[in-house]
């Protein structure tokens, strides 16, 4: 009997020690697993951020071999580390399982051997005890209610998103408000293509040779004649050659290239070559932004939407446009819609159309068939007495649509030929240009064919061939490519003055505050007073050819030269009235 008890004790002690061993090993392997998890949670993201930063860097310095080696090494290190940790976790988990089984089996065995027969002790006041237990249980339930209430309270502090546009403090809308767009330069020639900046604090003095007045200058590798577009501290434009189409985004503060987004295209039909006129180039259309995304179109018929981090959200090929000089119409936006004038060839083959794509998905929101030939003008969305009108110009018509659904509002047959200057809306009139021939002012209040009823006036002097007009509402200025500046009164079309600038121009004129900015092909900015007579305020030389129209945003001018992007002006990008 004694020997049996001693034997029992021996087994019990062995089981207990084994339990302890199992517990210690379980603890060690649990600790190792936690260490592994924490390690990957702490180190992983840091390394991946470093890698992402290096990748951004290498885009700016594509030839930097050292950087490429660094990227490859870091990438390899990240992959190795991940696989090592994965293997380690699997092994440690297996060990933990093993130790846990040892712990449980030995523990159960030890527990069984240690079990003592129950020896209930006397209880003095069982009634009292039961009452106390019930009381404590009630308080415990009350505690549970309190915990649930606190939990619910904490949950109410968490954020949720209201889908009401601009509502509940989240402030979001799927596209920027009109006020926000006014403060930015969201498309070719700014809001509604007017070429007018609401900011009056625009620089008037700089020099490209000395660098005076120039905040930064960044070389641009990809060619393109399209103009910069600005949203807060991001500058967008596109570039292309026969093989590459890119959207580029630069930091407004430093001029650093933030990202480039590629736009793919399909293969050319066999035996066909894709060649465009050098003057037009492979990236003539200017990009547009609705304040949330940026959109680009290329003469290959490829159109794409990117978010502000450079992620391509969608891409669509509209079919290669048949355009004699190469497709050049820039994009316009209305709310979440991307508006595309896709007129081509002679307009008789059924390919010409006006498209509105949903900016979030690229799906066609509406489409208007048009029997109009190729145009090189850019459509505008004008705010006509509180109602938006989409104005398009293509031989022989100026046509207005409701931009929300593509319903035609009115049309006037009043222009013809190869049309390049884009229309503007100023002083209550739509001003459309027929190159070398005439400027037509149309009252946009009619319906149907307004050719005979709503043409306010026509003018025939100093009519430009490429540049679009600009107006402060009282005067409208025309600039032809040979440097003839002509001023008219908007109200009645009466010529006010004419001035020879003795320079060549491709960029359209702009107005910022009370100043007229005229950027010549050679990169000389002629600055003049807005008014009934030509009064020169200054000339600033950049020292580089300029085809694109500059962008004006709060104290700064962004100029895309043939090789560089320039930021002229102060150190602060400044306030943005509405970021909704």
């Amino acid at each position: 009997m004694k020997a049996e008890t001693a034997n029992m004790n021996l087994w019990h002690q062995a089981a207990r020690t084994t339990t302890l061993v199992g517990a210690v090993f379980s603890g060690i392997f649990t600790g190792l697993l936690v260490w592994n998890l924490v390690g990957s949670a702490l180190i992983g993201p840091t390394r991946e951020n470093d890698l992402a930063a290096l990748k951004v860097q290498v885009q700016k310095e594509p030839g930097n071999q050292e950087l490429l080696v660094q990227i490859r090494q870091l990438d390899l290190q990240i992959r190795r580390d991940r696989i090592w940790r994965w293997d380690f976790a699997r092994e440690a988990a297996s060990m933990l399982l093993g130790s846990a089984v040892v712990l449980v089996v030995a523990g159960t065995f030890a527990g069984g051997l240690a079990k003592k027969p129950p020896r209930p002790q006397p209880v003095a006041e069982r009634g009292e005890l039961q009452m106390r237990e019930a009381r404590q249980a009630r308080w415990s339930v009350v505690g549970g209610i309190a915990v649930l209430a606190v939990g619910m309270g904490l949950l109410t502090l968490t954020r949720w998103v209201s889908f009401v546009q601009g509502g509940n403090g989240d402030g979001g809308t799927p596209y920027a408000s009109l006020e926000a767009r006014q403060a930015q330069w969201p498309r070719f020639r700014g809001l509604a293509g007017a070429g007018v900046s609401t900011h009056a604090n625009t620089p008037t003095s700089w020099n490209g040779k000395t660098g005076a007045g120039i905040l930064w200058k960044t070389p641009v590798a990809v060619p393109g004649h399209n103009s910069p577009v600005v949203w807060e501290d991001r500058i967008f434009f596109s570039g292309a050659d026969p093989n590459l189409r890119q959207v580029l985004c630069f930091d407004g503060k430093s001029g650093q290239l933030l990202w480039t987004g590629d736009v793919p295209t399909g293969p050319l039909p066999a035996g066909e070559e894709f060649e465009l006129m050098e003057d037009t180039g492979y990236a003539a259309p200017t990009v547009a932004t609705d304040g949330r995304r940026v959109y680009a179109i290329f003469p290959t018929g490829d159109v794409a939407g990117f978010d502000f981090t450079g992620k391509r959200l969608w891409h669509k090929n509209l079919g290669r446009p048949d355009s004699s000089y190469g497709y050049a119409s820039s994009l316009e936006t209305y709310q979440n819609l991307v508006l595309i004038d896709y007129d081509q060839s002679d307009g008789k083959d059924g390919k010409s159309r006006f498209l509105a794509l949903d900016g979030t998905s690229g799906k066609v929101a509406w489409e208007a068939k048009r029997a109009l030939p190729s145009t090189w003008t850019t459509p505008i969305v004008a705010d006509v007495a509180g109602k938006p009108q989409l104005i398009t110009v293509a031989d022989p018509n100026v046509v207005a649509y409701d931009p929300a659904n593509g319903k035609e509002l009115w049309r006037a047959e009043c222009v013809g030929g190869d049309l390049a200057p884009s229309p503007i809306y100023a002083g209550g009139l739509v001003l459309a240009i027929q190159p070398y021939s005439q400027m037509v002012a149309i009252k946009p209040t009619g319906q149907g064919d307004v050719t005979k009823t709503h043409i306010a006036w026509k003018a025939e002097d100093g009519i430009p061939d490429i540049c679009s007009p600009v107006s402060n509402g009282t005067y409208v200025y025309l600039l032809d490519s040979e440097g003839l500046l002509t001023c008219y009164q908007v109200a009645d079309g009466k010529k006010v003055y004419e001035h020879e600038l003795k320079d060549q121009f491709r960029a359209s004129p702009s107005i910022a505050g009370d100043k007229l900015y005229l950027l010549s092909l050679k990169g000389v900015m002629h600055i003049a007073q807005v008014g009934p007579e030509y009064k020169e305020l200054g000339r600033c030389e950049l020292g580089e050819d300029c085809f694109a129209s500059p962008a004006f945003v709060d104290g700064r001018i962004y100029i895309r030269g043939a090789k560089n992007l320039y930021c002229i002006g102060g150190t602060s990008v400044g306030s943005t009235p509405d970021t909704k």
Binding site: V21, L103, S140, L155, P174, T360
Partner: protein
Amino acid sequence: MTRIACTAMFTLALAVPCLGAGSEMRFPPPEFESGYQFPETARPPTARPVVHEYIDVALLAVVLLLASYLILQRRSRRAIFALMIAALLYFGFWRDGCICPIGAIQNVTLTAFDSTYAIPLAAAAFFVIPLAFTLFHGRIFCGAACPLGAIQDVVLIHPLRVPHWLESGLRLLAYTYLGAGVLFAAIGGTFLICRYDPFVGFFRMTGNWNILILGASLLAIGLFVGRPYCRFLCPYGVILRNLSRLSKRRVTITPTECITCRLCEDACPFGAIRTPTEDWPEGEYQIAKRRLAFFLVLLPILIAAGGWGGYALKERLARMHPRVRTAERVFLEETGQVTGTTNASDAFRTTGQASAMLYQDATAIRSRFALGGALLGGFVGLVAGGKLIALSVRRRRAEYEADPADCLACGRCYQYCPKEQERRKQRRDARSGRGNR
């Protein structure tokens, strides 16, 4: 020395097969010479023949029948334990913990709320069969058939007593979880109970790290606290405990009569044994009546407060719905409040749907959560108020008995009862008597 040898033998005997699992990683078998054909990774897994589901249902019924016999007739803990292990291996590890009656709550709920959803017959059977058995024999499903209960049962090496008051408070969690599980299955588009099944990762030997950690923590607690998930979280357990109260023939600690020897008092690791009651001191009855009246008045207030709270949380609760989450993300992306996209927002965009439609759907789901949240809050208020009332009512008990709601029919307490020992002895004697003849 002998002790060390014993320990070493014991440890080795137990650990070697387990540690073998890890060795696979260290010495990968060479594949390049074995002519091994790599499988087509793109091939979808073949569907399990439906007959297997009927086999599962039949097996469940058999296990429950057997459990009823073993717990009520044979009164054998060992047999129950063996059956429980078999059920753990089959329903847990072999069938990957799916389908189980706990998750089937959601299938049943969805059937009630979504006319386009047809509940699989097996799911319906798995939900109903344990309920039917519980109605007659108490929670025998928990004791012998449930793989989630079994995995906790086997790790229980040193049960500690959880104070009665703490149990009462913690049990609110299970009711809340049941309510939430039903709500999200009805309108949430998610099976919350399956999503947070803490042990399925062990059954499948793989899974989300967070859930594995949750399961491991519950098992670690389960070393000392008997079946923490079953007692404080299991939503199906909530239904079973209430049905079990109605059961006619269920676990009784003693096979014949209770002699109030008190030997079984601490036998139950799940705190299910109730002691005989004694009279309250004089004067306590008046206080108890007033307390009861107070809680009766409080009940509708708690229901209303819970309902209001649940209603106020509608937008937060609705975030569990994938469509609402996608809508919120897409909205934030479209309004420039976040940069970058997620897989969900990318996937939405490939559908070509207008985002306005998505927001509309999400808003409709939120409004459904207004009612659902209010009902969930009201339900939790009702449970809390009901518990306060139940804890204020005096119950009379003349002998030791297993609480019908709390007893998990494990059979551990039997061996503590001297009457049971007597019965076993008589049976042994009868058997040996028959053998001698």
